[in-house]
Symmetry: C2
Subunit: 452 residues, 2 copies
């Protein structure tokens, strides 16, 4: 293992240069900026460390790069999921250095994508290189699944996965990567909520009317208000029949993990300027709600006059965007149907319900052997017990691997830290976190040499 | 009376020129454009026909011009309410000729304000001139109340009226003017609804949060949805206790007038692209609802993300603009208090309720002697029975005269017609309507010579 460490240490400058090389290619999916150039560089960098690449293209979609490392006589296979696309950079004037000219300052590497998610791609590739150079072979087969639409909702990932499932099979997958918490403890996350996003549209008169017509003309904003109040009451409970039928409560083991999760309730309340959480929950109850609670959230309500002062208008249209966070084993397609049918049954058949997107929830058991393996190796490399988060409050498409391919998925060992500013100006990682991440993945890969 | 007609006919070109002269002064109150220049011209034009003017100024308000015609030995006094301010002109590119360079084309005068409301001001002034010239004196005292903020809600008119009530007293007032309907019948309106406008604001987290926080953070859009559903149900009935206590049903006489009002239900439905009115009403029932129904209308709902696609955000703020149309004798101040108290009582004390404006409803009885006088003279001049509308679906501040000064108010004899395009590009009046309006007001004024 010392040789691995030595190799990585003696190549740090070159590894950082390669990270910069990949981050110099913009690849902003939301703005369709520099995708192909980034993919070209990525494929080159994968080939350079001995990863065989398959470039997969669906029409109208950003390509997915699938990578393969196959070694003779090797039985085990692990997978790495990453994305090469990044968030837009605005507001540009808040960046201390140009987002696509990454630079190292005070032990940190600044640039769009260095943390989310190119730093993790490069760390994993360099780990493969290190193991290959030091051991003379890679003792585990590896699959890379690197998409280019994560920041715009992984729109085509389900089809890419469905069509390439054979190529992607592995016994365990690493997701994006995460990093360390404020106490420098490595974070491991094992699950994500599902989501169903919809837009409700109500139509009133064919043109905005003077509000003196209100006694006779249906007001679409009112239609949505009543429809929404029918969907969820003040008790925050969704009234759609059967909505909670497939909800699985957290296991005892999961609840125990929740108790150990770092969650500074007072700091979070302060950050959001609120006095109390919904329902007055606190402590482990608030974490349980955050990580295991289903939601129906209004993301936006748009109707009529929104300027200063008053305009007495009866709007011709009203729109609401909703997101429902789902937990295991709620199915977004099934629930979308329930929502449509419920609104019809409640007399709101006039309201158009458009499905914008849907992910299943997915969770890997904390007692899964692959999880144990990852957690053990993290503790070994980082010298501290990892924080295991059984599921997150947000949503990632891990269900494609976990549910569709029945394969455990773990996120951990990544390059991030709490001040990484992902999605924000001055995105950065600490150089030492980058190097440590390479070491972790290298040692994890190398550990298969010692396995039967 | 023939001499009056002859005088008016032989001066038509000069009268049109004077209308153009007043309309050349922009006086857009919403944009604070050309107010003083217009007032100066107006005062000149009033003086030129023998009206004594008082320029009243409140700080931060557009001036009100009060005019007086007093004749010796004359007992009766009538009043004219008008406004010299006009609507903004945009979209400018839809005007066939410049809005502030009025021109005559095909028997019509085009320009911003020619109908609303400068045409009526000039018609009334020219009527005074005609009577004065032809009879040698004006046989009735006259009061002019001409404000400059009608198009922005007559913000300061209540104070102007309160402070100048002695100067304004009369036994009957003409309001803005109206005009003729599509069958060339003069329209007389006798009342207007009241209004209460409010803005509701709900506050959530101090910054927009990622929607994964929805299990714990209060969503202000949801707060408003629930509050609104508490204010009005799907049956369109306002649930606030006592809301309908002061509602007065239309009298038999008023209902009879409703039956005669021109109201092309099918054409109106087509115009708004709807199949049926709220509650499925039709015929006289729909008119009754339109003119005598109270409302709670959502003018605008603004919260969170309103762009294309999806953004999973939990908004930090939500705002709703409401207008309540009121009928006799509902009081906007009292009802505002009811609304605030009701929301508090229903558990929505967190929602800020800001009053944006309020008018009382007001109605003059169709059997009022002043109404009879106006209707009779209109029939005489127009040669057809006028259409009497007991109250309108909209709101004008006639309560200041009708309720505060206990004086009948009638709108009628004005220069407008259904294609006048008020508030729109190519505002216009027909030259013949302008001349006929002068004749009507002249004969109405002259008729006092024959009264005891």
């Amino acid at each position: 293992m010392e040789e691995l460490t030595d190799f990585i240490e003696s190549n740090r400058e070159r590894f950082i240069k390669d990270l910069i090389r990949l981050c110099e290619k913009p690849s902003v999916s939301a703005q369709n900026l520099g995708i192909e150039e980034c993919v070209e560089t990525l494929v080159d960098m994968m080939s350079e460390v001995g990863v065989k690449t398959h470039l997969k293209r669906l029409e109208g979609a950003n390509p997915v790069v699938i990578g393969e490392v196959n070694s003779k006589g090797v039985e085990h296979t692990i997978g790495f999921y990453n994305h090469y696309d990044v968030q837009p950079v605005d507001p540009l004037d808040l960046w201390a250095s140009p987002p696509f000219k990454p630079e190292v300052r005070n032990g940190k590497i600044y640039g769009r994508g260095v943390s989310d998610n190119k730093g993790n791609i490069v760390a994993r590739l360099k780990a493969v290189e290190a193991v290959s150079e030091v051991l003379g072979k890679v003792p585990v087969n590896i699959r890379f699944l690197i998409e280019g639409e994560e920041e715009i909702g992984s729109i085509h990932l389900p089809r890419y996965v469905k069509e390439n499932m054979d190529l992607l099979r592995a016994e365990g997958y690493f997701w994006e990567g995460d990093g360390v918490d404020e106490k420098d403890r490595p974070i491991v996350t094992l699950g994500a909520k599902g989501i169903l996003t919809v837009e409700l549209t109500a139509i009133g008169p064919s043109r905005d009317a003077h509000s003196s017509w209100a006694p006779l003309l249906p007001n679409p904003a009112w239609r949505l208000v009543w429809a929404l109040a029918t969907i969820k009451g003040e008790d925050e409970r969704i009234k759609i029949p059967g909505w909670y039928d497939d909800v699985k409560e957290p296991s005892e083991e999961e609840v125990k993990l929740l108790e150990e999760i770092p969650f500074d309730e007072d700091a979070e309340k302060k950050r959001f300027g609120i006095q109390r959480y919904l329902g007055g929950v606190s402590g482990v109850e608030s974490r349980k709600k955050l990580y295991y609670g289903t939601t129906c959230n209004i993301c936006g309500f748009d109707s009529g006059y929104k300027g200063p002062g008053m305009k007495t208008v009866l709007p011709s249209i009203a729109k609401v965007k909703l997101d429902f966070r789902l937990v295991e084993a709620q199915n977004p397609d099934k629930l979308y149907e329930s929502l449509v049918n419920y609104l019809k049954a409640e007399g709101f058949g006039d309201i158009k319900v458009e499905k914008l997107g849907g992910y299943e929830a997915a969770k890997t058991s904390p007692s899964d052997p692959f999880v144990k393996l990852v957690v053990g190796k993290l503790e070994e490399v980082y010298g501290v017990k990892p924080v295991v988060i059984p599921t997150t409050a947000g949503t990632t498409p891990i269900y494609l691997i976990k549910n569709w391919m029945n394969t455990p998925v773990v996120s951990g060992g990544g390059v991030g830290y709490p001040e990484s500013n992902i999605h924000s100006p001055n995105e950065n990682i600490r150089v030492e976190d980058f190097i440590r991440s390479i070491k972790f993945y290298a040692r994890f890969i190398a550990s298969y040499a010692e396995r039967p």
